[in-house]
């Protein structure tokens, strides 16, 4: 409970302190901004007031310039002065009628008042010493040296009034731009001091008019005017620490800054060598904000305390619900742990299975590469076979041509054999004729023998001759018989040869037909071998593509295997996380409840 209260109160308190600190920083930033704005506004107003004091002087100078230009002729001006000097005095008196009595407006010609055409007039009727020469005065020299511009003298104590004053002067030109004189006005600085003293930026702020060397032109302590310098003591060291030297400080640009707990601002008054200086402490501005900040802090603390009480009440009720949820969470965590273990076991099995698949795919890739190599070999053999078959077709064509020639030669041979048979037939006829003659001779011989036998002893010799003739005829008959046998054999051989040749012709024709069929078959084989070669090439390409695809599958499977391993590791982490979650749930539910859950 104490922890609960601390955890409920401490964060709002820290937030409140942080918010207050932030609020303080923001407020300080706003204060600084406000200081800048306020100081700038004050300087602007002060410069306006000072300008309001000095503006009549400037206007008088301008009016006098216009008047003098109207009477630009020096001779005419001299005549006016000579004839009626009082008239010009009255003009000047009229111009400066709205000025205070202490303020004197005067004009001196470039020509010495002791010479012809030279004069000196003023608005108050002041009579200078007899030897007083305007052109020897500083205000005169500065105006002539800075033609057309306002010049300022250092403050000095006026002899006439005994007051601190400063002289403003400006050269007066004729219509041709030549300096003809100098107009000047003595301005009493007590008016400026009063304006500055009337100006307040904050409760403890200070406003001064300083010269460019740091001396006071105005100061509540009149003893410090023109005698002491602003850049002395601790202030000078602070300004140096802030990064400002005196010459940088009065370089003519408007500046406002905060250093430590003080603020500073400086601005030049017009084109004069005078500067408005404002300084003060920031706490004049921030005191209100700090008061408000303390109030806000108190409100925040009160709100924080209230919210802490509400939080304690809400957290107490949430704690009750949390215990119930923790019990359920513990039960679910146990289920999650069991499921995680089962998941881990399954993922390990999957990992093993994926590794087996990867190994199988690697074997498959190797087989695909081997098949690709074999198919390349088959493709080469098919291409060679195609070439051999084409060569075989050419040989077959040559063979068919030669068979045609053989058939023609065989036909010629058969015709020759037939012609030979016809000639043998003629021989047969001749032999038959010879045989007939021999038969006749034989018969005649027999008859001669018969006759010789019948003639008895007288026909003995004739009988012998007839016998020899018969034997001769028998020999001829035997010879012709043998010739006939030979002729018959020749004819049989010839017929057999013709039959064989005709059979050979048929065989040759069949051979030609077979060769043609073989040529057609070889052409088919050639086409088939070309198709086989092309198919082998296509198969090679397909196998290569399959190998690439297998490699892709293998890479993917390896990635899957890696993923499964990661999944296994993640599952183990989940299992450990579920164990941790279980212990957390146990802690959440409390020891009593956890023991019940574990039971």
């Amino acid at each position: 409970m104490r922890k609960l209260i601390i955890s409920s109160v401490l964060p709002p308190a820290i937030v409140a302190l942080f918010a207050c600190f932030s609020f303080y920083l923001v407020n300080m930033s706003i204060v600084r901004k406000n200081v800048d704005t306020t100081v700038d506004a004050a300087i602007y107003k002060l410069k306006g007031d000072i300008q309001g004091i000095l503006q009549p002087t400037i206007d008088k100078m301008s009016n006098w310039q216009a008047i003098v230009k109207e009477i630009h002729d020096e001779a005419a001006l001299s005549r006016i002065v000579r004839d009626d000097e009082k008239t010009l005095f009255h003009v000047m008196k009229g111009i400066s009628s709205d000025l205070s009595e202490d303020t004197m407006f005067y004009y001196a010609t470039l020509i010495s008042r002791f010479k012809r055409g030279g004069f000196f007039i003023n608005s108050v009727g002041w009579v200078p010493d007899p030897d007083w020469e305007p052109s020897s005065r500083g205000w005169f020299k500065d105006a002539v040296a800075n033609k057309g511009q306002f010049t300022y003298t250092e403050p000095y104590v006026d002899d006439r009034t005994g007051k601190l004053c400063a002289t403003f002067s400006q050269s007066i030109d004729d219509n041709r731009g030549r300096v003809i004189g100098v107009a000047a006005m003595d301005v009493m600085l007590d008016e400026l001091s009063q304006v500055v003293l009337d100006t307040k930026v904050s409760e403890r702020s200070n406003v001064y008019i300083l010269l460019s060397d740091g001396r006071y032109l105005t100061n509540p302590d009149s003893s410090k005017i023109m005698s002491e310098n602003y850049f002395t003591g601790k202030r000078a060291s602070d300004l140096k620490m802030a990064g400002y030297k005196m010459e940088d400080f009065f370089d003519g640009e408007e500046k406002s800054f905060v250093y430590k707990d003080s603020f500073y601002a400086v601005s030049r008054i017009g084109s004069s060598p005078w500067f408005v200086m404002v300084d003060g402490v920031i706490s004049d501005f921030s005191a209100v904000f700090i008061h408000k900040l303390i109030i806000i802090l108190c409100i925040l603390l009160v709100l924080g305390g209230g919210s802490a009480v509400v939080n304690v009440w809400i957290l107490g009720s949430m704690r009750k619900k949390e215990r119930g949820l923790a019990g359920r969470l513990l039960s679910e965590t146990q289920n999650l742990a069991v499921a995680s273990k089962e998941n881990a076991a399954t993922s390990q099995d999957q990992n093993v299975a994926v590794k087996e698949v990867v190994a199988t795919m690697e074997d498959n890739t190797t087989l695909s590469e081997n098949i690709s190599e074999k198919i390349k070999g088959v493709s080469g053999i098919a291409a060679k076979t195609s070439g051999d078959v084409a060569e075989g077709v050419a040989f077959l064509s040559e063979n068919v041509r030669q068979l045609h020639e053989i058939a023609t030669a065989n036909k010629t041979t058969i015709e020759g054999i037939k012609a030979l048979g016809e000639k043998i037939e003629n021989i047969w006829d001749i032999v038959t004729l010879i045989n007939n003659v021999a038969d006749q001779a034989k018969i005649i011989a027999f008859n001669a023998e018969l006759e010789a036998s019948s003639a008895g002893e007288a026909g003995r010799s004739f009988h012998i001759v007839a016998t020899e003739i018969r034997r001769l005829a028998d020999g001829i008959i035997d010879g012709t018989k043998e010739i006939k046998e030979r002729i018959t054999e020749i004819q049989q051989s010839s017929d057999s040869l013709i039959l064989t040749s005709e059979s050979g012709t048929e065989k040759i024709q069949e051979g030609v037909e077979n060769a043609k069929n073989l040529e057609e078959r070889f052409s088919s084989i050639k086409n088939a071998s070309e198709v086989t070669a092309n198919s082998a090439g296509d198969i090679t390409t397909i196998i290569q593509q399959q190998a690439v695809a297998s490699e892709q599958i293998l890479i993917t499977l390896k990635q899957i295997a890696s993923g499964v391993e990661n999944f296994t590791v993640a599952t183990e982490h989940i299992s450990k996380a579920s164990q941790n979650l279980k212990s957390i749930a146990t802690d959440l539910s409390g020891s009593d409840d956890s023991s019940q859950l574990e039971e």
């Binding site: 038969d439 006749q440 034989k442 018969i443 027999f446 008859n447 023998e449 018969l450 036998s453 019948s454 003995r460 010799s461 012998i464 001759v465 016998t467």
Partner: protein, 167 residues
């Protein structure tokens, strides 16, 4: 030169004649009818002719084929096969005829082939015992180990006379 040969042959023949005279040699003409050999005495044969036409005669016995014209003389043509007990009684196909030497008749035998002459001693003729003049075979003679039947030409004449009644 031929005369020398003839004289030589004559001397050899004379020497043989001397032997024949002593042993009564008879010349036989061996011929063939179909595949069988037969013999007749050469003294019974007048001539051998061939290539002559046989003119058929009507109303003749079966063994008489007809007549042939031998230089203007007609001769009766006998088919021996029809008489000598051959199974095949058809006349030979060859136009070969033995003109028999008869005193008062003109007969011829139709044979297939004329083979040779051979001289046979009388004792070598195997006469058939009890044979008469009407028998067609006189006996047999042996030539080179073959026994050749010897035909009786008179039997043919007697048969014709008997069958035709012209005795």
């Amino acid at each position: 030169m031929n005369e020398d040969i003839i004289n030589q042959i004559a001397q050899e023949s004379g020497e043989k004649t001397d032997v024949i005279e002593e042993k009564q040699v008879t010349t036989w003409l061996v011929f063939a009818i179909g595949q069988k050999k037969y013999a007749v005495r050469s003294s019974d044969v007048l001539e051998i002719i061939r290539d002559v036409a046989v003119y058929r005669l009507p109303f003749m016995p079966g063994y008489i084929e007809g007549v042939l014209n031998r230089r203007g003389d007609p001769f009766t043509v006998i088919n021996p096969r029809a008489l000598i007990g051959e199974e095949d009684t058809r006349p030979p196909e060859e136009p070969l005829f033995l003109i028999l030497k008869r005193d008062d008749d003109q007969l011829s035998l139709h044979i297939s082939d004329i083979l040779f002459f051979t001289d046979i001693e009388e004792g070598d003729l195997n006469i058939i015992p009890g044979n008469n003049d009407e028998g067609f075979f006189l006996g047999t003679l042996v030539y080179s180990g073959d026994e050749i039947p010897a035909l009786n030409t008179n039997a043919f004449e007697l048969l014709i006379r008997k069958d035709l009644g012209s005795a």
